[in-house]
């Protein structure tokens, strides 16, 4: 069993308009010191997944089923209070928009101190020293001074560093970063990603990076999970997913990775249409309305939900097409296009 082991996680929201299946049967695992990248468009269920691990869905109307094992403890059935005591201490999270994710009325220091003192019975002075220390470690200059600044007085990158400092303040064993760089400039993105990599090594924690951008996880991740419509469509090592991707959706994501030599809006392999409504998930393969190869499998695309099947050595793909067909398409049609650039 991995350090974090998620098994058949389902997160459903009943709404006036019908049942929203945000996450529908998701399984994955992460080891200490390893990094998992979860990739998908907005609405694919990736953020909901991460929040449910921390138990942040509680209080809402979400219905959870499945199992979440963290260091041998099952969290879904665990008491709210117990999960709370783990939050921040054993598992922590970095959010997408550091401006809105930090309380505007408290100084950065106050917020880090608070995070630290929840789990450590220390005086304010000690906590403050720790906060300054953490700020220094995430690369904020003059931490002793900036500790008394408010979030709005920081630049975007600094704020995200502060968020990271806050998340790491209790030395968590599992760190989840939800779109940690989306709100940042490209140059700052790289800095933050470097920082996270360094810190992960230093703390030896398990890291989950959630993003819609394969580029972000390319360098950082050991494993990558591609989500679509609340389901995993491809799961494998970073190498598998980058060099031997087998799902047409992954191909599309690869094709839309930003590169310095391309206009950001220009897409090589455009994914036509928009993500599926989670209320009315298309029957059969959820991706079929957008899949250029859907007709190849005839009626099965619209009537039968494809299984997540192992293609080789832990590389899982959810597609009706046969392994050979997918590999053929990748080798002959997709890879050459991606490489021409």
């Amino acid at each position: 069993m991995s350090f974090l082991d998620v098994k058949d996680l389902k997160i459903h929201f009943p709404t006036d308009d019908g049942l929203v299946k945000s996450v529908d049967g998701l399984s994955f695992g992460v080891e200490r010191g390893k990094t998992l990248g979860i990739v998908g468009e907005s609405g694919s269920g990736k953020s909901v997944t991460s929040q449910s691990i921390l138990g942040l869905h509680k209080g809402g109307r979400a219905r959870l089923s499945g199992e979440i094992w963290l260091d041998g403890e099952e969290l879904i059935e665990a008491s709210t209070e117990h999960v709370r005591s783990l939050r921040g201490k054993k598992m922590a999270m970095i959010f997408q928009d550091p401006l809105s994710s930090m309380h505007p009325y408290y100084t950065v220091g106050q917020q880090i101190i608070e995070a630290y003192r929840i789990h450590n019975d220390v005086s304010k002075q000690v906590a403050r020293k720790h906060a300054i220390d953490m700020l220094g470690r995430v690369g904020i200059p003059e931490p002793a001074k900036r500790v008394d600044s408010y979030p709005h007085e920081f630049s975007g990158g600094m704020r995200q560093r502060a968020m990271i400092a806050m998340a790491l303040s209790c030395d968590p064993e599992l760190l989840i970063a939800d779109e940690p760089t989306t709100a940042l400039d490209v140059t700052v993105q790289a800095q933050i990603l470097d920082l996270m990599r360094d810190l992960q090594r230093e703390f030896n924690s398990a890291l989950i990076i959630i993003t819609h951008d394969l580029g972000v996880v390319a360098e950082l991740s050991d494993d990558i999970l591609v989500m679509y419509g609340g389901k995993c469509v491809e799961y494998g090592t970073a190498e598998d997913v980058f060099y031997r991707p087998e799902h047409p959706y992954t191909w599309g994501l690869l094709g839309s990775m930003p590169r310095l030599d391309r206009e950001p809006t220009e897409r090589l392999l455009p994914i036509k249409g928009s993500p599926p409504s989670l209320i009315n998930v298309p029957p059969g393969c959820a991706f079929h309305p957008r899949c250029p190869y859907a007709e190849r499998t005839g009626d099965r695309a619209t009537t039968e939900v494809p299984a997540l099947a192992e293609t080789e050595g832990g590389h899982l793909v959810r597609c009706h097409m046969s392994r050979e067909e997918r590999r053929g398409l990748w080798e002959n049609e997709i890879k050459p296009v991606l490489e021409t650039q």
Partner: protein, 337 residues
């Protein structure tokens, strides 16, 4: 900061000037448009025995023959420099701020206003304490238990509360609690706080509750909406992700953000109320500024009207200035410049 305050004070002053001009216009100029002569205006302020000579003399004394600009100028001069009041047997200096002397009673207006202020202030402060505590706590609890029976009950009550005219609730409460059950004193009861605090509170209990009910309903609705919005904010999620207990999440992170905009409203509402809670004071016949305003308008006692309007406007202006300054203290993102 200082420049900001100075700028705001100048703005506030300009606003009061505009308000005084408009008020002056309504009471001094509009009647003239409607065809009132100086004599006709003066004859409101004489006894029934008045001869044309008397009316003429009074019109002269009240300055109705002067051009409107001069009349307004004299009024403004009185406020800043004080005025001379000829009471027949001599001349009295009415020190600044002199809002003039009542056309009806001959009493200086300013002491009258100061005299009535405690009544309205007492009414406002008591009601405000009740409505803030009740409104905010109900709003927070409703937001936290959204969809519960409590939520639906209180929000239903709150909606009813904002839909009830205060003169109606006031009358009903008087009929039931004062004249019916005899639990509370009848309308018009007022004791000065310094004279007897217990009686002061007892006399004001019903007006407080009635007025507070109306505002509490509004505040509960606003607090609930604000709390729901705040509790959906990213930083609340962050607070939870830190492992903070829910109570602290709500109190330290949620309430703090929710209450800040409520504070603004409170400042304005309170400022408006001190300026005269006309309907409440009319319903309970409390001798406050609101009742004073109504009496002044009914008797067309222009100096009184001008005085009460300006004082009321001043409270709003000052309240909004204080609120803005407080806001800067409470919300570090706000910079005064």
């Amino acid at each position: 900061m200082l420049t900001y305050i100075i700028r705001r004070l100048i703005g506030a002053f300009a606003m009061l000037v505009v308000i005084s001009m408009v008020t002056f216009g309504i009471f001094y100029v509009v009647p003239q448009w409607a065809g009132a002569t100086p004599e006709a205006m003066a004859s409101r302020y004489v006894g029934r025995a008045a001869t044309p000579e008397t009316v003429h003399l009074v019109a002269e004394r009240l300055g109705f023959y002067d051009p409107v600009v001069v009349q307004y100028g004299n009024f403004v001069k009185g406020i800043f420099a004080g005025a001379q009041y000829d009471y027949g047997a001599g001349v009295e200096h009415c020190p600044a701020p002199c809002f003039g002397y009542s056309f009806i009673t001959g009493q200086p207006v300013w002491p009258d206003l100061l005299d009535r202020l405690p009544v309205t202030f007492s009414l406002a402060i008591g009601a405000a304490i009740i409505w803030v505590i009740a409104g905010v706590s109900v709003g927070v609890l409703s937001a936290l238990r959204r969809g519960s029976f409590f939520d639906r009950l209180t929000m239903g009550t709150a909606l009813a509360g904002v839909s009830l005219p205060i003169f109606f609730t006031g009358m009903i409460s008087l009929v039931v609690f004062s004249y019916g059950l005899g639990w509370t004193p009848p309308g018009g009861a007022w004791t000065d706080f310094s004279a007897n605090p217990a009686e002061w509170a007892y006399n004001l209990l019903l007006p407080w509750i009635t007025l507070a009910f109306l505002f509490a309903a509004t505040y509960a609705r606003l607090t609930r909406a604000g709390m729901l919005e705040t509790m959906g904010e990213d930083y609340i999620r962050t607070a939870r992700a830190k492992g903070l207990r829910e109570r602290q999440v709500v109190v330290k992170h949620g309430l703090r953000a929710t209450l800040t905009p409520i504070l603004t409203l409170f400042g304005i509402d309170f400022g408006l109320l001190i300026g005269g809670a006309i309907l409440t004071e009319t319903t309970y016949t409390l001798p406050g500024l609101g009742q004073y305003a109504i009496l002044a308008i009914r008797t067309q006692d222009m100096p009184q009207v001008m005085g009460v309007v300006l004082v009321a406007a001043m409270f709003v202006v000052v309240a909004s200035l204080i609120v803005d300054l407080l806001y800067a203290v409470v919300d570090p993102r706000v910079r005064l410049s």
